[in-house]
């Protein structure tokens, strides 16, 4: 699914990218690459940005970027 469709608090794994152009490089420099686990911390109102956690880093991304990041849900380990 697209990251923009994920629920707040969900743990996700990045599996690929849509058509993002140069923005993809920026994401990758921040450590958002396929195979990495991220967590959706917060979504701002009215189509505002999404706040992600990658490792110990928090990154805010615009809604359109979130549509270009493909993720899968990571099942909770108990």
């Amino acid at each position: 699914m697209k990251l923009s469709e994920a629920r707040t608090g969900q743990r996700l794994c990045v599996v690929g990218f849509g058509q993002l152009g140069r923005a993809q490089l920026k994401l990758m420099d921040l450590g958002i690459v396929p195979g990495v686990e991220i967590k959706l911390l917060s979504r701002f109102l009215l189509g505002g940005p999404l706040l992600l956690q990658i490792g110990r880093t928090h990154v805010a991304i615009g809604r359109r970027i979130a549509e270009g990041i493909l993720v899968e849900e990571v099942p909770e380990k108990d």
Partner: protein, 647 residues
Amino acid sequence: MQVPARIALVGQPNVGKSVVMNNLTGVGAVVSNYAGTTVEVTRGYTSIAGKMVEVIDTPGTYTLHSDTEEQRVTQRILLEEDIDLIINVIDSVNLARSLYLTFQLLDFGIPMIVAANQADRAAKLGIIVDASQLQEELGVPVVPMVATANEGTEELRKLIRYGGAVGRPIRFSEMLESTIRRLEGYIEQTTYSGGHSSRTLAIHLLEHDTVDEGILRSHPDLVKLIERLQTEMGADDPFCPNCFRGCAFCPAKGTDHPVFLTCIERTRKAREVASRVTRNTHRDRVDFMERLEEVLDHPVMGLLAMAFLAWASFRLITLFLGYAEDLVEWAMAPVASGLVRIIQALLPEGSLRSMLMESVPEGLVIPFSVVFPAMLAVYMFIALLEDTGLLARFAVALDRLAALFGLPGQSVIPVLLGFGCRAPAVMATRILPDRRSRFIATALIGVAVPCAATLGILAGVVVQFQANAFAIGATIVVAFVLIGLALSLLTAGEDTPLVLEVPPLRIPVVNNVVAKTTSRMKSFFLHVLPLLVVMNVVLRALLYTNVLTRLGALDPVTVRLFGVSGPAFAGVLITVFQRYLAPMVLLNLPLTAREATIASSMVALSFPCLPVTILSIRELGLSDTAKVFGIALLAPVIAALVLNLIL
């Protein structure tokens, strides 16, 4: 081992690099623009084993591709400035991400020391970095630091004396390595001698680095090499012959995920090494700052909290200004009377003397009592916002609002800076991702953002003539919104969406805030103050010679259209040179409250001052700056016409 002569500090944003710089060099460091760019580079000296060593603080950058000005400047410093030692400041909390840049630096083959900063925060979060194991992995000395508490600085100094070590660059997967080897072999056959090792150049070619494009242009045989490679590349090659990027699934080959192989492998290696050298102990507790972060990052509570914060700081600044003005005036009184006595003693009696006796002290006291506290308050406020990590949060929260103006959330930063001084604000538009948002931001800053100096003197005008402060404020806000909306509609292009690291909330280091504020205030004393004094003398001279009263001849036109007298209109025109000088003219004229309100509104909206104009031309070019001036011409005229009708 010889003590290095020149050290470069390199690190990602938000790792505390500037604090490490401060600890090493103290207050003597000088901030300046890197030649031909707007990127600021700090240079200072430190004494190591009795030898003066130059330390260059490079701009913070996540990576060393040549995508942004910061990345290009950092690469150029490393390649062109005879750096003997790199101090790579990394964040112990975000080790995996930090090591990504560390690996790129290792490729340069320059001796290096790694400063693992923020060890205290890491420990609090239950992260323990094994420095000696990291040292083993990288092949360079590693020193744990808590720069904010000046811990580890002595250790770092000791290591600097021994010059660091050339580490071991990482090995990529065999598929990448074989291609790198092939490229290296070709490069070694050419005349290339541009500072990179052939391996580094090969990797950069794969990553399509633009600095290396520059190198290529000056080495024709390298260009031939590329042509040769392009013909050699077969269908099953992992690299696209179109661009040399390590695209595993290049669209040119029919699949849909263009991914930089080198980036992915470097990220994976960084994560591997990071997990090998860190131990996660049981963390004691979620600390107060993190709880606060949760509140601020909440979509609803965060917005409310930040609105409250903005209101509170505004109240605080106005309170501060109220007290500061009286205090400074009282403190300046002996200076002013001293100046009067000096002029009295030096000059013979006459109109020149009485003119100077009035204008020189006034030109000094007004900037100190009105402008100085305002600039101090705004600069301190901005430094605090930056150092607490709140500025980035404002940028995120306001992203949607800014989008209405065709701007990304980061524009909060240059616009806010504009309320301090608009010259650095225009330079800060560099952080915006595309030309369109840079243009809109520059236009808004140039026309609809009054700087602290202007606001300070306008406040003086309001007090003196009992002008309507609410009307002036409303005019600025309405103009800002209308210009933003109009430009967003009129300029073509999609807005670039936000990608921004949100740093953790921190308690600011007092030293760092003070250092930032003072270095920004310095330019006020050097450039603005002398101008204010000179202009005040010129103005007094104009008043004494009755030139301004003659402008009263313009009254019929200006009063009918704008509701202000001819001389006041002339005062508005003076803003072409320096906006905050205009209110100084107004202060010297007999105005009604209504006239003062309209004239002040016009001044708050008019032309960008000379420094801002020069910077705009440099950043945007002549034609876009001309457009900004067009807006600057229209905005105050329309505002005055409207105010003349409704007030």
